[in-house]
């Protein structure tokens, strides 16, 4: 089966103040037909640049981009046959909605009757049929976004690129549009490449995500894998709200019975983890707030004082402080009787914690399974 989109050692460099900066650094990945693939990362990580290179809006400094095994690196945007939705929506303000959606078809020289038909179909799909004669400014943000999507898909592109399409919308609309886009993905038969800085969008919508950091893909995986089995500390802390607790811990204990100590905590580890810790005197330990449990004193790994609890609904987010002042976040169903200032006993869920290399941040062990080789 051919690869819908292949990035082959793609690099993009800029020269700024005489210095060469790599915005995208030797990026390689394959995207399969029909995938919903998301680039996620903080601003400046190179995700948008990557998308723009895929679109042909930025030139590639080195490397290749292939669509269906065809090298398109030097093909202009116009000839790549993509559809794209822009962050600022970018509807043509002086055209009606009908003309906006139909524009790609008009450029392609399609007969008017056929354009009208296709525009109707796209509008129907996006439930904006009644808005076709209006101007973009007469529409709400969410409706405008639908129009932009309509314009991008009307030509039935094989690859649909979306550059932070929801960032201009308010929170409620964002959630709504998320579902909308997913529904759309199922109905049209396109490969979607999606860029966002919002990890929730990335995690909820994508079939696979690429976590971008400083021009590189730190991890390319399914959302579940990324959450449960982050390859790097940075990926682990980027994904998940509230963020994963990460502590510097000293490796002590007898051989085969490692104990991590630090920040007023002592966590005895299982035999299986011993291999991962081999040769390290210090490691970083990461525990998701939900992987911490309030337990009776005898089952506890350590104690901490409850400082603040923020109700999230079913659960609470608790800010704790250990004996030496390390902050810890815990998410869980906490008994209402516990008040701020109470001393709690905490245990780490042995099935769901990570150990990171103290210098490189690479995961030595994560929640799904112990990694055997470092």
């Amino acid at each position: 089966m051919s690869v819908a989109l292949k990035l082959d050692n793609v690099t993009k460099t800029f020269t700024q103040n005489g210095k060469t900066i790599a915005a995208v650094d030797d990026l390689s990945l394959d995207i399969q037909p029909g995938e919903f693939f998301t680039f996620v990362g903080a601003s400046g990580c190179g995700k948008t640049t990557t998308l723009r290179m895929i679109a042909g809006l930025e030139t590639v400094s080195s490397g290749k981009i292939l669509f269906d095994d065809q090298d398109v690196t030097n093909v202009t945007t116009q000839k790549r046959g993509i559809g794209m939705v822009f962050q600022d929506i970018a509807l043509f303000p002086f055209m009606s909605i009908r003309d906006n959606i139909g524009y790609p078809l008009k450029v392609a020289g399609m007969p008017k009757s056929q354009i009208a038909q296709k525009v109707e179909a796209a509008a129907d799909l996006l439930s904006i049929t009644d808005k076709l004669s209006m101007r973009p400014t007469q529409l709400s943000g969410g409706q405008q976004q639908r129009v932009a999507i309509g314009r991008a898909i009307v030509k039935e592109p094989k690859i649909l690129l979306l550059d932070e399409p929801l960032s201009a919308l308010d929170a409620r609309l964002r959630t709504e549009m998320r579902t909308e886009i997913l529904r759309l993905h199922r109905r049209i038969n396109a490969t979607i490449v999606y860029v966002t800085h919002d990890q929730v969008e990335a995690m909820t919508m994508s079939s696979r995500v690429a976590i971008m950091e400083a021009g590189r893909a730190a991890q390319v995986d399914t959302p579940r894998q990324v959450f449960r089995a982050p390859r790097y500390e940075s990926v682990a802390t980027f994904i998940g709200t509230p963020a994963m607790n990460v502590w510097d811990m000293q490796v002590t204990g007898k051989a085969g019975q490692p104990v991590l100590q630090g920040g007023g905590m002592t966590v005895a580890l299982t035999r299986e983890d011993a291999a991962a810790l081999d040769g390290f005197r210090w490691v970083r330990m990461g525990v998701r707030p939900a992987a911490l449990k309030i337990v009776p004193q005898d089952e506890a790994d350590f104690s901490a004082v409850l400082h603040l609890r923020e109700p999230l609904g079913f659960e609470d987010e608790c800010h704790l402080e250990t004996a030496d002042g390390t902050d810890i976040k815990l998410v869980g169903r906490v008994p209402d009787t516990l008040v701020e200032g109470a001393s709690l006993h905490i245990a780490v869920d042995r099935a769901d914690y990570c150990i990171f290399h103290p210098d490189t941040g690479k995961a030595l062990r994560h929640g799904l399974a112990p990694l055997t080789a470092a």
């Binding site: 679109a55 042909g56 809006l57 202009t76 945007t77 116009q78 000839k79 046959g81 993509i82 559809g83 794209m84 822009f86 962050q87 600022d88 970018a90 509807l91 043509f92 303000p93 002086f94 524009y103 790609p104 450029v107 392609a108 932009a148 314009r151 991008a152 030509k155 690129l161």
Partner: protein, 273 residues
Amino acid sequence: MTREFAWRWMRFLWLAVGMLFVCFPLYWMAVTALTPRTELFRPPYDVIRFSYSLENIRELLSATQFLTFMGNSLIVALGTVVINVMASTLAGYALSRFEFRGKKTFVAATLWTYMFPPILLAIPLYLVFSYIGLRNSYGGLILAHVSISLPLNVWIMWQYFQVVPRSLEEAAWTSGASRLRALIEVLLPSALPGIISAAIFSFALSWNDFAFAFILQTDIAMFTLPVGLATFVEQSAIHWGLIMASSLIVSLPTFALVFFLQRYLMHGFSIGK
């Protein structure tokens, strides 16, 4: 309540005084234009006149080459507008969309052309235009007028394109439109206010220019209005009636422009001459 009332009337009063200052010269120009020649030099005048005479205007149209001048002015102004709009749109587009060597120098040089006292450009311009055989031609004067309005218009268009989001153009490209097509179908409509204000300025500068037309158009059949107007001052006694009549007629297209297109002017005025 009373304070507010007093305040409003104060404002109204000041505005009235100011408008009187602005309008009175224009009003008197119109009145003079419509005053018969024999009454022109017989003060005191009635500040508010009820009897008007078209004598001056009739003389202007029949006994002078006013219509020729007017035609010349129109041709030159329209030519200036067309060339200006095309050249400045392209240049503004390039300046806003591309980085290239010499961009800063080009912009600075463009601004600096404004700092040169125009009076002494007479000789070199005359030389250049003689050399390329463009004296006493519409083309030559159009070029000269382009030279005074183009720097400003490049500036205007540059700024206009800067506020047209790039993504509009990119959206057109991803829709399959070529760069040229995107420029014409998407960018130009978006920058229309800028283009209109550039056009108005080109028109106004050309319509008003005296210095260049005076240097380059030596054949009376090629005179533009301002130069032609100057001939009414020359030679014989100053014929105020004729002068005011032609001033009035010259002002009308400008007033129409201003009235109908003022909202575009507001933008264009943010920079410029």
